[in-house]
Structure formats: structure tokens, C-alpha cells
Amino acid sequence: MRGLALLDAIRAVWWREVRRTLTDRGQLVGGVSRPVLWVIVLGIGLNPWFRGETYGDLRFVVPFTYLQFIFPAVVVLNILYAAIQSASSLIWDRKFGFLRELLVSPMPRTAILLAKVLAGTTIAVVHGCLVLAISRIAGVSLGWDTLLMALALMAALGFAATCLGIVLAISLREFESFGVFSNAVILPLYFTAGSVFPIDPSFSRAQTLMTYPAWLVTVVEANPLTYAVDTMRGVLIGWQEHAAWIGPTVIGTSVIVLFALAAYRFSRL
């Protein structure tokens, strides 16, 4: 299978996944409820506790509001959920025999995997855009340049997260256990990525260690998602805690390593 035929096969698998997921009301409810709960309910609920009260007071001197702070993290959360859930289709495909049909087709396994990963990426970007649609309430202004950079970052994140989801899905045989397992992966990753608690940007590392327990700082620093959330903040609200090159490096490395891992696991199916 070569050239256009291969591309056509990839497109067919990609479109099947995208169409099925993006027209599924259940998954869309999840895609809408997360930004509603995290940004509109939690963000607005906690916003007054982090807002400026005294001009010149050094407590909570941050160049953003809590709503702005949490907004990029919720974009990442929606991408993670959408990407990893889209990978769950692998379990269904395996259960109902569709994957067997695909595997015996002339389509190379890497191409099948790539189509599935690209589908997961597309779905993740669309779910990320659902969060961007509520940017007005968070006070995040989206120019065309910001939007394009955010879309590129969302695509890279979605790609890596779908690969991770596929690695998980290959390891499991039942759909129910995938739901539990994915939550056990997504939520700890999300909560330990500096997503919900702001760290004062004027803090040095020594000051951060005085404010937070050392184990939490270590976990946050070891979590690759920390740098993805940080980069998304850099793009959407123009503030990031870590050096600008770290995020793209970590995301790029994750894309390569996770795709290689997914390809290895997929080749042994």
C-alpha cells in the first residue's frame, strides 16, 4: 500500500474516529461540563480570594486573576480527557472485531496507529476550542496570533495525550476499567501540574520551598504536564513560571517518546 492509497486509508480511519466522537452527545456533554465547572463555577468561586485588595501589597502579587490563571489549565484538562477518551475506541474496536479487520488489511500498523492518533488529536483540539469559546468570562483576549499558537500547542499536546491513551487502552481489555484507569492518570497529572494553585511569580525556588512542602514542589517539577500548562499560560495570558524553552522541549520529547511507545505496543497486538 503506497502513496495516495495509504493517505486515503489514513483519512478514512481518521474520519471514522472524528465523526463518531464529535457527533457523540455524551462526549460533548463532558467537553462542555468541564469548562463550565472548572472555569465558570470554580474559577469565579475562587476568584475573589486571589484578587487584588491592596495596591502595593506583596501578597498575591501576580499579573493575572485566578480565572485567567486557571483558564489555560482547563484547556489542557479538556485536551487530556478528550484525547485519552478517544483512545478508548481501541478497546471497542478490539472487542467488536473492527481492529482485527484493520490489522489484516494491507494498511501498515504504523499508519493505522497514526490515523488513530491524528483523530484523537483533532478531537482534543476541538474540545480545547470549547474551552476557548468561554475565554471572554475569564478575561483572556484571543488575537489571531495567540489563537494560532494555542491551536499548535493544543495539537502537540493532543497528539502526545492520545499516544498515552493508546498505550493505556492496549494494556486493558474492558472499557469500564479504562474509565477508572484514565481518571487515575488524568486527575493526578492535572492536579500536580500547578494547575489549580497559583505560585507567586516573584518567588525564588527557595521561597517556593518555604511556602509549599518539598514533596509537593518535587512532584510538580517532575510532572511533564507542569511545563505544558506553563507553556499554555505563556501563550494565553502572557505569563509563565518556567523558562520559555522548557515547555516546547518537554512537549516535543513527549510526542516522540509516547508515539514510539504506542507504536511498539501497537506492533505487538
Partner: protein, 265 residues
């Protein structure tokens, strides 16, 4: 048992379109109660220095650019506007000693410099006029490598005064703060001070005194209003009115009346 056939064509994508519409609609909900509270009170209070010409003056017929702009804003919001004169803003070198709290005022104005420092504390902007500082010295001599006292007249609020103090200490220069621009110009003319840091519109008639730029962040920049972080519904409303005033030429007329350069100039 009848099975429902899957929807095809555009109808299959209707839930996705609905999801985006719902999110966009929810994004227009008011994010806080600041505008509601101000409307309930019937007025908004603005913390300003007692004098910061041309932004705030003591002349009731020409109360200052910021006061006049905010009066128009209040009028268009069908509200009152009360300036709260904070004397600490005139004299104190450190914003932390100004005692500005949410309980005291709803916004801050009076030649507030829109800088990174200001934005750390406040939701600052838009820039509605040009403010900033320059160095007046004999033959444009720099701060470094010279002796003598430097006179300072700061009309704007929000200048990073601690950084300005550090800059002067690094240059090994003593500083003397002046309350009025005329006093500063007189001191420069009489030789009481060797150089002056003031806004570029300071009237200096002393021969040989030239103007030179100060390093960032003290170079001429923007001035505008400051809102408390988190008061988005109020700040958005004020910004919407300011955009309309800019489009209608109201801001430009007031700038001309007070001799303030437009931020785009």
C-alpha cells in the same frame, strides 16, 4: 425493537454546534459582582493624588484630565463619581505606604503609569495619555559620573519609585523631592540642584540645560486608569465607554485641552 438510524449530513454535527454556542453564551455571563455593586451604590470612588498636573489639579474649573474623563464615563453610566484625594500618593515613595484598598476606592487614577509593576498589582489600562520621566541636566550629562543633587518631581502615580531610588543610588546621586514643578525649575536655575528628573513638559528656561532619556522603565510611557484585579465587569464597562469616547473624539478633545500627548503619537 426499532433502532434509530444515526443522523447523517449536517444534522449529525448539530450537537457540536450547540456545544460551541452554549460555551460562547456562557462566556458572556458576568464574571463578578463589581458592576452590580457599583450600580447599587450609585457611584464609583477613584483614589487620586491631591495634585498631579495635568492629570489632577486643584483648579475646580480645570480639575484635571483624569477627573474630566472619569466624569464623562460616570455620566454615561448614569452614576456619580467621587474622587478620593490620597495625600500619601503625593508624598510617599513606596506604593505600599499609600494605603489604597478596595474599601477606599473602586479604581485608581491621577497619571497612573501603566507599567509591568502597575499591572502586577492592578488590572491597569487602557493607556489614555502619555506620561513618563526625562532627565534635565547641563549639556545633557548622564546621571552616572556626575556629582550633585538631583531634583525629582513625580506627577504620575504608579512609577516604580523604589527602582528610581535604586537608579539614583547606583549613580551615587543625592535626591531631593519637589512638590511643585515651578519649585523644581527654580532650584535648577539657582544651582540648588544640578539635574532634575521630571515629566518632559517641565518648563525649564535655564541656558545649557538639555533633556535626555532615562533608562527603562522610566522613559516616557502610558498613563491610564487602574482597576482592582477581579473587578472585570466594572472594568469592561468603563473600557467599553472609553473606546466609544475615543471613537467619538471626546478623549482627543480633552487631551488637547490639557496638553497631553496621545498614546499613539
Amino acid at each position: 425493537m426499532r433502532r434509530t438510524a444515526p443522523k447523517t449530513g449536517w444534522r449529525a454535527w448539530a450537537p457540536l454546534a450547540l456545544a460551541f454556542t452554549l460555551c460562547a453564551a456562557l462566556g458572556h455571563l458576568p464574571p463578578d459582582a463589581s458592576l452590580r455593586d457599583i450600580k447599587r451604590a450609585g457611584l464609583f470612588r477613584v483614589c487620586v493624588p491631591a495634585v498631579a498636573s495635568p492629570w489632577i489639579t486643584t483648579d475646580p474649573t480645570r480639575p484635571g484630565f483624569d477627573i474630566e474623563v472619569l466624569r464623562v464615563v460616570a455620566q454615561r453610566m448614569d452614576l456619580g463619581m467621587t474622587p478620593v484625594a490620597v495625600s500619601e500618593m503625593d508624598n510617599g515613595i513606596n506604593p505600599r505606604s499609600w494605603g489604597l484598598t478596595r474599601a477606599r476606592c473602586d479604581m485608581i487614577a491621577g497619571g497612573l503609569a501603566i507599567t509591568g509593576v502597575t499591572r502586577s498589582f492592578l488590572d491597569a489600562g487602557p493607556v489614555w495619555g502619555t506620561a513618563g520621566l526625562v532627565l534635565f541636566s547641563a549639556d545633557g550629562a548622564p546621571l552616572e559620573g556626575q556629582d550633585g543633587t538631583v531634583g525629582i518631581y513625580l506627577v504620575g502615580t504608579g512609577t516604580d519609585r523604589l527602582a528610581l531610588g535604586r537608579l539614583l543610588r547606583r549613580a551615587g546621586r543625592a535626591a531631593q523631592v519637589f512638590d511643585h514643578p515651578e519649585a523644581l525649575a527654580d532650584a535648577l536655575a539657582s544651582g540648588q540642584i544640578e539635574a532634575a528628573i521630571a515629566p518632559p513638559d517641565l518648563e525649564v528656561t535655564t541656558p545649557g540645560i538639555e533633556i535626555s532619556d532615562l533608562p527603562a522603565p522610566f522613559e516616557a510611557g502610558g498613563a491610564g486608569p487602574g482597576f482592582w484585579k477581579g473587578d472585570r465587569s466594572f472594568s469592561e464597562e468603563v473600557r467599553r465607554i472609553l473606546r466609544r469616547m475615543e471613537a467619538q473624539g471626546t478623549l482627543s478633545t480633552l487631551r488637547q485641552a490639557y496638553g497631553i500627548a496621545s498614546p499613539t503619537e
